[in-house]
């Protein structure tokens, strides 16, 4: 049993380290490319395409106005940008709140019976004829340059969708601060997937598509409440190019309680597993490039890795706690300052510890680069401390819950 657990752990560690090495090589291979892209974007657009941003909202009375205002403040020609606010049968005062925009020539407001986010998006898509179409969740806000930067990428005729960089809106407290690092990490990963032509999520907040994508491939689907994963996979399956504009920032409000965070992340992981199941024929197929042979299989394996390594770590911690409890129960509490007499003999030099140090160094390197990409600089703050100390304990919770939901067919919900 002990040997089997060890072997599985080594295999998973090898795979995880391999992924890390691969991604870091991709970064070092392309870091000059990132600079080039930034220079290209700074040159600006020769011709501005027409864009419609759909804001689907369901019970968003508190945030919808701010979201629309952030869109109106975009640095983009007013005659080229339309905002379509769609109330998806809200039961609060969302409809009343959006009335104030009804006379704005840039804004269109609609209401429909509740049917879910994807129905609101399809409703909007069916009514427009702009070159580009995007969506902004009603709890997200955009940086004024975001759309301009994204539109630059569409100068490449092959580009069919552009994913933005998602950051957090004014994070406060340990839970939101640790998510800030996670989102920064997401920006780095998505950029690397961009270089590998393997972006498999076009995030809900402010991903922009050519309208022709929906005309040719059809509208959004329910897709287990993660339509942003499904549409990206459908595009990849059909050979459509998706890129990532790392300098197009969009900010979203992070869950402020563990319960909300668990719910949100469970939905994401559940959605990934279910959609990966629906698109399983893409796995290990060379025709889908890096996405098929590496990124999708690795994303699936990472779920198993995190659960296994977390289970082993948690079992180890529990075992130590039980032993400590037994010791206290037997001889009472006695405190020994652990570093009073340092001896190298007691330093853990097992293979797993050395690999863990190397893997942690790789992860910290990626976090430094991620934070530089997301914030323009690296600063060591509490967000990093919370992420490094807490994330490994809470992430397995939603991954475990999502896996449980998949196995026992418990459907994920939005709220």
């Amino acid at each position: 049993m002990y040997e089997a657990t060890n072997t599985i752990t080594y295999i998973l560690l090898f795979i995880s380290l391999y992924f890390e090495v691969f991604i870091l090589i991709t970064y070092f291979e392309n870091r000059l490319e990132i600079k080039k892209e930034e220079n290209y974007v700074s040159l600006g657009l020769k011709k501005y395409p027409t864009v419609t941003i759909i804001v689907p909202c369901w019970n968003e009375e508190l945030t919808v106005s701010k979201t629309v205002h952030s869109l109106l403040a975009l640095d983009y020609p007013k005659n080229k940008l339309k905002i379509m606010v769609i109330d998806d049968g809200s039961t609060d005062k969302t409809w009343e709140k959006i009335q104030k925009f009804k006379n704005n020539p840039q804004v269109e407001i609609h209401t429909k019976a509740n049917g879910g986010k994807y129905t609101a998006l399809n409703f909007g898509i069916s009514k427009l004829n702009s070159d580009l179409v995007g969506c902004l969740d009603a709890d997200s806000y955009v940086h004024k340059d975001a759309l301009k930067n994204i539109a630059t990428y569409f100068q490449d005729k092959e580009t069919m969708a552009v994913a933005p960089s998602v950051g957090l809106w004014q994070p406060k407290g340990p839970l939101q601060l640790l998510q800030k690092v996670d989102y920064a990490f997401g920006i780095f990963n998505r950029k690397m997937f961009h270089f590998l032509q393997a972006v498999y999520i076009t995030p809900g907040p402010f991903s922009i598509f050519r309208l022709s994508v929906f005309k040719k491939l059809g509208g959004y689907r329910h897709a287990h409440n993660t339509e942003d994963i499904e549409i990206a996979l459908r595009m990849q399956k059909n050979g459509y190019k998706i890129v990532h504009a790392h300098n197009a920032m969009v900010y979203t409000v992070a869950p402020n309680s563990l319960r909300k965070l668990l719910k949100q992340r469970t939905r994401w992981v559940y959605g990934f597993i279910k959609n990966a199941g629906d698109y399983r024929h893409m796995f290990f197929k060379r025709e889908y490039g890096n996405l098929g042979v590496f990124i999708l299989p690795m994303a699936a394996i990472s779920i198993i890795s995190i659960l296994t390594i977390a289970s082993i770590s948690i079992f180890g911690i529990l075992n130590s706690l039980v032993n400590k409890y037994l010791e206290i129960q037997t001889v009472g509490l006695s405190f020994h300052w652990p570093f009073s007499r340092f001896e190298w003999f007691y330093v853990n030099t097992e293979i797993m510890s050395i690999i863990a140090i190397v893997a942690a160094t790789g992860t910290i390197t990626m976090i430094v680069v991620s934070k530089r990409m997301a914030e323009g600089k690296f600063n060591f703050g509490m967000d990093l401390i919370y992420f490094l100390t807490l994330y490994m304990f809470i992430a397995p919770l939603w991954i475990g819950k999502a896996v449980y939901n998949v196995i026992f067919s418990v459907k994920a919900s939005w709220r």
Binding site: Y2, F14, L17, Y18, V21, F22, I25, T26, E29, Q197, N238, G239, R286, E287, Y288, G289, N290, L291, V293, F294, S320, N323, L326, E327, T330, V331, S334, F345, Y346, N348, T349, E350, I351, I354, I355, V358
Partner: protein, 234 residues
């Protein structure tokens, strides 16, 4: 649809780097492991020399006064050896052949130390106070873990108390002889104190009650270092 390009060289290169990291980790781990085993062997050799030196000193000073001979002449590093051995046993597993060899050597050193202490005590008309502790690393001794904590605590409280711990199942004739002369049954944990054997878990209070001499040791302020101790620490 045109198939997307895959850079096979990058996959291979990443694999080679990962394999090199793994191979280096295995090499480093083995290197440090060997260094640690060497350190244990060095301590054992030093203890062996200490014991031999004490025995020789004992023979030389046979006619001398007891003040020249005391328990402090016994090796002071058995405690450190025991700690390092217990740690190594935890890390490498109880069935590791290196650990078994080291434990056999350690047990022999303990017996030699025990005999020497008895000799010195006899010559100087002192009543030796020591605990012989039999434990098992098999899962059949649930209380051995707890007894280990008790004996570790006793060692801290009474630094002059000598505790000799033996794996009951160790395949070593000297240990088997020690078991047979004391007629120790396989009901572990078992403690032998002043020729009396106590079976089952004994708390600190039990031991202090059964061995009142322990309290005398509490007041002894000798500078003697600790010696052999309990085992099965975590």
């Amino acid at each position: 649809m045109e198939p997307k390009k895959i850079n096979s060289k990058k996959y291979l290169f990443s694999f080679i780097i990962t394999a090199i990291i793994f191979a280096t980790a295995i090499y480093l781990s083995n290197y440090f492991s060997q260094k640690k085993l060497d350190e244990i062997r060095n301590i054992q050799d030093k203890i062996s020399i200490d014991i031999l030196s004490s025995e020789t000193q004992f023979s030389l000073l046979e006619e001398s006064l007891c003040k020249d001979l005391g328990t402090e002449t016994l090796s002071s590093e058995l405690g450190e050896l025991e700690n390092k051995l217990a740690y190594t046993e935890n890390m490498r597993g109880v069935n590791d052949p290196e650990v078994t060899t080291l434990k056999r050597y350690y047990s022999l050193l303990e017996i030699k130390d025990y005999l020497l202490m008895n000799k010195i005590s006899e010559k100087c008309n002192k009543t030796p106070l020591s605990i012989i502790y039999f434990y098992s690393t098999n899962n059949d001794c649930l209380d051995c873990e707890k007894e280990g904590y008790v004996l570790t605590k006793l060692r801290e409280t009474y630094p002059d108390l000598r505790i000799y711990s033996f794996d009951y199942n160790l395949d070593l004739s000297a240990v088997r002889t020690l078991i047979s002369i004391n007629k120790t049954r396989n009901e572990l944990p078992a403690l032998i104190i002043k020729d009396k054997t106590y079976y089952g878990f004994q708390s600190i209070e039990d031991l202090e009650k059964n061995v009142p001499e322990l309290r005398l040791l509490r007041n002894t302020k000798t500078a003697t270092s600790t010696t052999a101790t309990s085992t099965k620490k975590n």
